[in-house]
Symmetry: C2
Subunit: 343 residues, 2 copies
């Protein structure tokens, strides 16, 4: 991967994530508090603030990457945390609407090591919580963004949401298709992950009063970074250390997902790629041993190298979009952390 | 029911519904057209414009009550159709987001005599379509409402959505509870149905430039009318003519729903009320014959009269909220149609 992650850069990025989490928490808590019981408890549980009975705990919380990007984009454009805090909270609310719904759709049993909302309260209530979080996101943004840009901000977040839904649709549709092209994968990922990261950066710039050209450049930066994020996600599912990721090894492969390394391997026209195709199409259960063999085939077919290369290209494209790298140190640090994360 | 529906009033109300449907259709089609394939086809199918393959048909469409209320409220406040058309389209989009999700949650197989979206495209895709429709609703409103009121309009629609989710949560929760109080029912109905009807009226007034007091009065009018709507819905499930409603007779009773007549009967402390409690709690399947007996018990326990009375009170409260009935002829006509509808 281009642009290595040195220790000071990593420290800077991690500090920005921690600060972002603290900065938005009061806005998130106030928004969640406006939900009537028990939607407020469900949301608090999902955010890691309480147990299913509403008793406060010190749970594992999300990384807050999106709000950190909003703040970093605002700072890069001469703005401050105060003007961007509602936008940052809004993107986090919107991200969590999509997580709650995705967990229902994918029947994911755990998030941050705890049963997902749908497993505690059922699918219907989880769907309703997601619906409410989406509405809160747009409400918080409209209510709290600087008045002169509130409308544009809402329209951008609304569009990002629609794009995100399309990306999630495609991701689900891929599961029942024998093959997916690299281009189809990239469109899916730029919808599913790129749209909201792009919006997070654009909103930060917008709240800081940046002009149209800069807002648009920030959007491009975030969208490309979203692609990096998704590619790294796919990469560490296969080659990450389960001890570090906290997720079962080869989860994507076991579910026969068309992740990017798989797509590349299947398109490679190599012997290993054809072996992988046979393994993916076979009716045998995908055991851990078979998934480990699939991982080897993907590597032999060039899928590992291809994924690293594509992530590197996207990272370069993100950096090229930065208006002035000198004032965008935080954005750069966060981007490098995303590219080099191991979990 | 107070305020009978004479023929000219009914004609006026029906004309307003037809006009509202035509007025918002271009905005709806443009919004739906911004969805990528196949979400656009799914939406078009749901709106009755096309078959599942996207081929245009002249299908049965929704009544367009909410947009008609938005236009009527705007007119009553001196506004016109043009200023309110995006708000009217937004409430219709939001209503349809909730219908698509409700159909998934309630596993309803049909809507307007056609298979529901989740039955054609699956639950995941129906959930995604609903998510996208919610985002479109807020986007269309923000983009199209008069600039000076766009922010307040978005905040109002966002709040109405959250309240609607809570009402839907309560409605689902009632299904697993042995009893529901009249007050609990009324809170549920004012969330599930009142919030969006209230918002539809408030947005019409807002777009027409009405002052705060009037916007708030319009909101009250719509919320009370929402209660009328829900009570009449419950009433015609039991005492409506299936030939006219187009729905199977006693559907609520067969599903042992705690509809308002049932809640009143169970709270009545009459012999018939106790018989109904036994029937609702029994483990025997609720056959059509048992449901018909339940309907008789509800009537004997006063549930029919109680429902008519409560609907009449809500209708009066709606009319009392009207700033000046003289200029609100369309709102009055629509309210009377809602109160006297038989399907």
């Amino acid at each position: 991967m281009s642009r290595p992650l040195d220790a000071p850069t990593e420290r800077r990025a991690r500090r920005r994530l921690t600060e972002a989490r603290s900065a938005i928490e009061p806005v998130l808590r106030s928004a969640v508090g406006s939900l009537a019981d028990p939607l407020d408890t469900m949301a608090g549980y999902h955010f890691g603030w309480c147990d299913p009975d509403g008793v406060e705990i010190a749970g594992v919380q999300g990384k807050a990457l999106r709000p950190a990007l909003t703040f970093a984009a605002a700072t890069a454009c001469g703005g401050d945390v105060t003007t961007a805090v509602y936008a940052a909270a809004a993107v986090e609310l919107l991200h969590n609407f999509s997580l709650v719904h995705d967990d229902v759709m994918d029947t994911d049993p755990f998030r941050h090591g705890r049963p997902t909302v749908w497993r505690v309260w059922g699918e219907t209530n989880a769907t309703l919580l997601g619906d409410a979080l989406q509405a809160l996101a747009l409400g918080v943004l409209c209510d709290g963004a600087p008045e002169s840009v509130a409308s544009e901000a809402v329209i951008r977040l609304s569009r990002a949401t629609v794009t995100l839904c399309r990306g999630q649709y495609e991701d689900c549709a891929f599961e029942t298709r024998p093959t997916v092209t690299v281009d189809e994968y990239l469109t899916m990922a730029s919808g599913k992950t790129g749209a909201l990261l792009g919006c997070a950066c654009a909103l930060g710039a917008l709240c800081a009063g940046a002009d149209h050209r800069v807002v648009s450049a920030m959007h491009t930066f975030g969208t490309e970074l979203g692609l990096v994020f998704q590619l790294v996600d796919d990469f560490i599912d296969i080659w990450g250390d389960p001890e570090i990721t906290g997720k079962p090894a080869h989860s994507d492969l076991i579910h026969r997902k068309q992740s990017f390394p798989v797509v590349c391997a299947l398109e490679s026209e190599t012997a290993a790629g054809r072996d992988l195709a046979r393994l993916y199409q076979s009716r045998h259960p995908m055991t851990a041993a078979r998934a480990a063999r699939a991982a080897d085939m993907i590597e032999q077919a060039g899928g590992r190298q291809c994924t690293l290369h594509r992530a590197s290209t996207a990272l370069d494209a993100a950096f090229e979009a930065l208006p002035d790298e000198g004032v965008a140190t935080d954005l750069a640090a966060l981007a490098q952390l995303v590219a080099h994360r191991d979990h």
